[in-house]
Amino acid sequence: MYSAKLRTLALATVITLTGAFVLAAYYAPIEADQGFSQKIFYVHVPMAIVALGGFVWGGIQGLLYLRTRDPKHDMRSYVAIHMSVILGIGVLVTGGIWARSAWGVWFEWREATLVSFLIVFLLYCTYQPLRFSITDPEKQSRYAAVFAVTAGTFVPLNFIAVRLANPFIHPRVLNNTTGGALPTDMKIPFYLALIGMTLLFVTLSRVEMTHKLTRGRVRGLERRLERLQGESDPAGLPARSAAPQVMA
């Protein structure tokens, strides 16, 4: 049931992302200000946007869970945040590499977007420990949803606050993405990479959810089998066994 959809998704992801990166390498022009190292932009920025979108999506799903109490939404919220944290590691590392190549430092505190992202990332790092430290499954989902909603609201607010904290010192390519001042031959690979990254997020989320559901089913089967074995176990419950009943 999952496999056909997943295969299409995975294929689309691979084609789009590869296409975007090839275009970024050969078609997109070398940026005048930063030279070749600006090409990091095509992997770093889409990853960051998708990760932030994933955090907000996790918050929306958390809200839906609180309203409907449908475990499906809890699962989606969990997987979205989980994948976004993984992407977040990539964002921070590639961002560090970019900062190093452009400004000679591994982390640039004056770059508001990078700083905001670090704060958001640190916040979401506590999501998993929070879930693990609540034993009751229903309570765990509920509390995780409250966290997801609060943190999801925090994401945009935090960006406003950090942007206000310091005047722009490096109004570089990052600002161009929102302003739309990007030249067309940079736009095409960038948006393609963004689509590819979104597809990657969706694909990996599906894989993760399929895995979780499968694991749940296996666990269910194990429990059922245990019960069956308990019933047929002659030492444990002799009267329930088939053969003695026929004898009586």
């Binding site: 609180l66 704060i119 958001v120 640190l122 916040l123 790092c125 506590t126 420990p129 929070l130 430290s133 609540i134 034993t135 309570k139 509920r142 509390y143 949803a145 409250v146 966290f147 909603v149 609060t150 943190a151 609201t153 925090f154 607010l157 935090n158 406003i160 606050a161 950090v162 206000l164 904290a165």
Partner: protein, 238 residues
Amino acid sequence: MTAAGPRPPRTTPTRTAVAALLRKELLLERRVPQVLPAMALFSVVTFVVFRFALDTTSVEGRTASGVLWVTLLFAAMLGAGRLFVADHEEGGIDALLLAPVDRTALLIAKAITFVAFLALVEVVAVPVFVVLLLEPGLSIADVGRLALVLLLADIGIAVIGTLFGALAIQTRARDLILPLMALPLLVPVVIMAAKATAPVLAVTGSGAPGGRYLAVLCLYDLVFGLLAYAVFDFLLDD
């Protein structure tokens, strides 16, 4: 006698419930002072630690603002961790759930209590800070400006502290997880509060705090206040 309403007649109005809960909190703290002395003492000790950690006998401007806010924030974390402990251990939350009152009354009462605690701690900690570490001293106008920033920041800290204190109390690792969750969430408050306080504490002619910082603090208080109001219900067990 207006019994002809859709709502059950025996529901206590939220305002009455909040007042009763507030009285309970303050009475508890007055009878057995636990949180407040700890928070105040922690602040003073932290100032002493800063004196040696920074290896300086006086601070001003941005450093002064930073020392003050780090101290107050960590003292607040200490308080937030204790906010629901008594209710959790003595079954106060269960008792409240049995009572015919709106559940958000608990949030409002706790947040007001927390703001009051923070204000009381600051009444002790800020003068100690001025005496021990602050180089320029404070004029009357400065005290007013500082009080405004403190109040706005306290509301934000109290809202987040109450919400996540209630969340963390149900977890196994509550003391570990609360600052981990609350500190990143409070970074915008620290940014704005530190930015707004720095000119007030500067040695070279104190200035008024920037209006936009105060505006963002207000926005933060408003957004998270409404959010906490909306989601607090889900943190209480049926």
